[in-house]
Symmetry: C2
């Protein structure tokens, strides 16, 4: 793969930002990968792990000469710092973010992009229960799906450039409106986390946990993820998450009727639909 960037700047070098740096360097896509953060030690760790060529605490230094800027910070931080970064970004800079709830953020950030700034939102569907650059992997993005979330105001060139970035890292790319994106991730990501946590929390007697088999272990694996990160995501995606919880309440009321009927055929049909769809996944 040929070099796409002279200077790629990653804002926040945790699991996602660190993996991005490793992947950019692994594919030889950037002449220099710079990491910005608020903690010297963490930047030093990222450099030692080969996630970045250079770390800096200084926005000006991070931005000067950058032709790619990727926010790999949590939602709240990203919203808060974006205005300053967008205002100081050099002309023709391509900007994206990796935040997992898009609605409000993409609207805000699109509004910040001046005439020669090319911003489109991204959500690479990969990650793990782990956090921090220590869990970073150069192949985290390989073969995975990335959702790009343009709004009507998003520049065509921005969409093309951001698409090029993720495809160069081996991702399949799909465009989807931010509001639709948020509904989708509520169903396929945020609700599963909530149900996994519910499964664990409602086991009243902790001693019962020793009776758990592979089924429960698999079903609750995501509940091992960062509570602070997820609490922020769920709060940000409140509307769609509440819709999904309401749909689950309805689904469970239906299942309850099936079970109450005492007719195994009714539950069987419902389980068959789930198995058929599961096999498609």
């Amino acid at each position: 793969m040929s070099q796409l960037y002279k200077k790629a700047t990653i804002v926040g070098v945790g699991l996602m930002g660190g993996s991005l740096g490793m992947a950019l360097k692994g594919h030889g896509l950037a002449e220099e990968v710079v990491g910005w953060g608020r903690n010297k030690d963490r930047l030093a760790a990222a450099r030692e792990l080969g996630a970045i060529d250079r770390g800096t605490l200084d926005m000006g230094g991070a931005l000067s000469g950058a032709d790619l800027l990727v926010f790999a910070t949590p939602i709240g931080v990203t919203s808060r710092i974006a205005p300053e970064w967008f205002a100081a970004a050099p002309p023709d800079c391509v900007i994206t973010d990796m935040v997992s709830v898009k609605g409000r953020l993409v609207d805000n950030l699109t509004g910040l992009a001046g005439p020669r700034i090319y911003y489109a939102g991204s959500h690479p569907l990969c990650g793990s229960e782990e956090t921090g650059v220590g869990a970073g992997r150069a192949d985290l993005f390989e073969g995975k799906l990335c959702l790009i979330t343009p709004v009507p105001k998003t520049k065509k060139r921005a969409i093309g450039e951001v698409q090029k970035l993720w495809q160069a890292l081996g991702m399949r790319v799909i465009s989807i409106a931010p509001t639709r994106h948020d509904q989708v991730v509520a169903a396929v990501s945020h609700l599963p986390l909530i149900l996994a946590s519910a499964l664990i929390n409602q086991i009243g007697d902790e001693k019962l946990l020793r009776f758990s088999g592979t089924g429960l272990l698999d079903a609750t694996r995501i509940a091992g993820s960062s509570p602070a990160m997820w609490a922020e995501i769920i709060t940000e995606n409140k509307k769609s998450v509440l819709e999904e919880i309401d749909r689950t309440l309805e689904t469970l009321m239906l299942v309850k009727q099936h079970v109450k009927s005492g007719d195994p055929a009714r539950i069987k049909t419902w389980l068959q639909q789930a198995r058929r769809r599961r096999r498609k996944m």
Copy 2:
């Protein structure tokens, strides 16, 4: 391990019965392992796979001289055929079953055991999404937990003998009352299956399944299991399953309030509890 049985008879040679045969033979625990079934071809397959030494369609032949009898048939079949088998079992025969809902069945079967018949119910907590002897494995039980479910009428010797069987196969054994057992498996096994199926079934648009990441894949793995088998289990365990569904409805109402509040700290605390417990599992 020394030989424990002259003739071990397994009723039903699917995944569980077949694995039991392989394990008994692997550990050299029985002089002969006989499989009983209603289908010649399946018995032949079990023999070819080394799960049994001999297959038969004849109850009399299967029982004559047996000092161990294990029902590895589904709940309904087991309840239906047990009276005839118990009546024809030779004196001093040790009998158990591997059915995963115990309440009614253990009561019935305990009532069938004459003075020199030693019956106690078992539930080895292992298995897989697969079915059939082809998926059988000699080490399926190794290191796993087996719940033995005595009632007040269960003979002491029966408990001891059944315990000896599973321990000889490398299982840890815990005794638990059948009614309590059914509550426990409703929480750690039957509810997870229902929630996994709910997660899949309520994704209205099947096209969205392609957006599913590792989290959803893990969370829904058990939904790939046999719908007919699970429908029978859930129906049999109706009371406890309905209690678990009601508890889930309450839990989700609570989470809904947390999310509605817009205060990430409330969700975070709830998620933290789940993560702490998950790590204990």
